[in-house]
Amino acid sequence: MSIESFAQTLVFGVFVGGIYGIAAMGLALVFGVLKMLNIAHGELLMLGGYATFWAFRTFGLDPFLSLGIAIPVLFLIGLLLDRTIYRHIVRQLGEEKIKNSLLVSFGLTLVIQNLAIWLFTADERTVQVNYTGGGLNLFGVAFPYARLISLAIALITTLVLSYFLHRTYPGKAILGTAEDFEAAELAGINIHRVYMMTFALGASLAAIAGTLVTVIYGISPSIGIVWTLKSLIVIVLAGTGSILGAFPAGILLGVVEAVSGAFIGSTYREVVGLVIFVLVLILRPEGLFARK
């Protein structure tokens, strides 16, 4: 394999890893703060993608700009889901809570996915813009514009999220709630509002990921489960307490997949991620980037 094609593989691995990272961060946020596993996260991602597709088709809006529509829509959906469904589970404790959230979100997956099939048909949709196909070429390695912009958006989102969580008052309240929700209540923090906002924030991150997926790959109602699984893999790699660590873990997964795809063949590329996932779960459950 030449240096160039290896570099190309790496670069594409980073590109897709950026999307993995954003997708996983939404799930990690909900898991870290609400201590619930939202299996329907991939469905939210899918809905975000469709919001973008619809905005593109109806208004001719550039898909990256239609984040301005996708994000608020998914934010509202997130608020709604928390208010109607997840609110009842968040009061439970420990393992029961995680298990029940898994089950409920599984039910939601069925509902959302099949509603999507009914509304949008099962066909795959794509988005074509005038810069699709164009790109930079550095040292013989291709950097398509669409993917560059996606990675940039992913990076900016991560930085904004980091700033929000670590440097703003409400962000710190979220982090505090994640560490110890009773202590947070005792500090006067309305944890129910924190839970609701955090869930909506997670949905917004899913919307961003969904938009990027739509631009790069196209969208169909069945992609939800695939992306949920990817996000789960990344979360386990990053360590389940880590929210921002999901981003580098996503890049890592992307690169590992791309490189093993190049060497073992693309048929096993999907399997590699899953195998690593199962191994990490069993051998090092606190994840690769664990803090304590």
Binding site: I85, I89, G107, L110, I117, L229, L274, V278, L281, I282
Partner: protein, 328 residues
Amino acid sequence: MAQRPFKQVMTGQQTFIDSLRRWLIPFGVVLLILFAVIYPQQIDKQNIWNLFFLICLHTTLSQSWNILAGFAGQTSLGHAAFFGIGAFVTRTLWLDETPFSLAFIAGGLAAAAFAMLIGAPTFRLRGAYFAIGTLGVAEVLRITVSQNVPFISSMPGPLMASYELAPRYYLALGLAIATTGAAYLLLRSPWSLGILAVREDEGAAQAMGVHVLRHKLLALALSSFFAGLAGGVFAFQQISYYPSAPFSALWTFDALLIAFVGGLGTLAGPVIGAIFFILVRQQLAVTLVEIHQVVFGIFFIVIVLVFPGGLVEAWRHLRRVRWPKRTT
């Protein structure tokens, strides 16, 4: 005239009602089985054979899942792996001139063998991690099969010629009865207390001297064996299909849905759930294709939130309210 003490009189009457109640359930079961045996034969229409077949197949799948998740409390999302392995092994052997009965058993055993192999390591995971870990394992199998054996498996000419639905249905029915019977015997066995203890509180069970891993593995062995046999039935019945299809997580999700809706941890749950699920699906599939899934999804969410015990718990709750049981 000596007066019998009041208490004795009451007890006498109640014993009679009790024994009536006690015979009601086995009698009902026998009736159900007789119905299942006779009715399709009498009607002899293909869609009825298919309907009943599906009910039996899903009963087996969800009952076998129930053994692991309902009785032992291990919520696995990798059930389709056993279904898939059973189907794969059975189909491969059967299409390769092996008599079906051998291929069938081999499928079940292969699934159980695989389960025992991954059992010990995966049981180190708890709760949600166990769930997603088993899902990961099942997906690995599915993708591996789908990449390595991508071509449709079709029934060859001579087997097609002798194809009959009836024996396939009765095999499925027999398997459903056997699986439920095995679950029943498990609950009556000396292992049952240990398994249920593991479900309630692993730590406490261990402290009481229950060998937790061994009990989990027992439940897993039964669960995977019957799921594998179900896969064999699937391989027997399907004329052509993609070998990776039975590995799809959708089979796990159906089993899960049925067990929950019917009543997780009960014997009747998977049976009632399967009947309900297939009948409703048939009805709804006539109108809007995907709506039945939406309906079940909503049903499922409501059950997890409100009635974790499913239809069986709802029924018991109703009974307790309308016919209060006398307490001794």
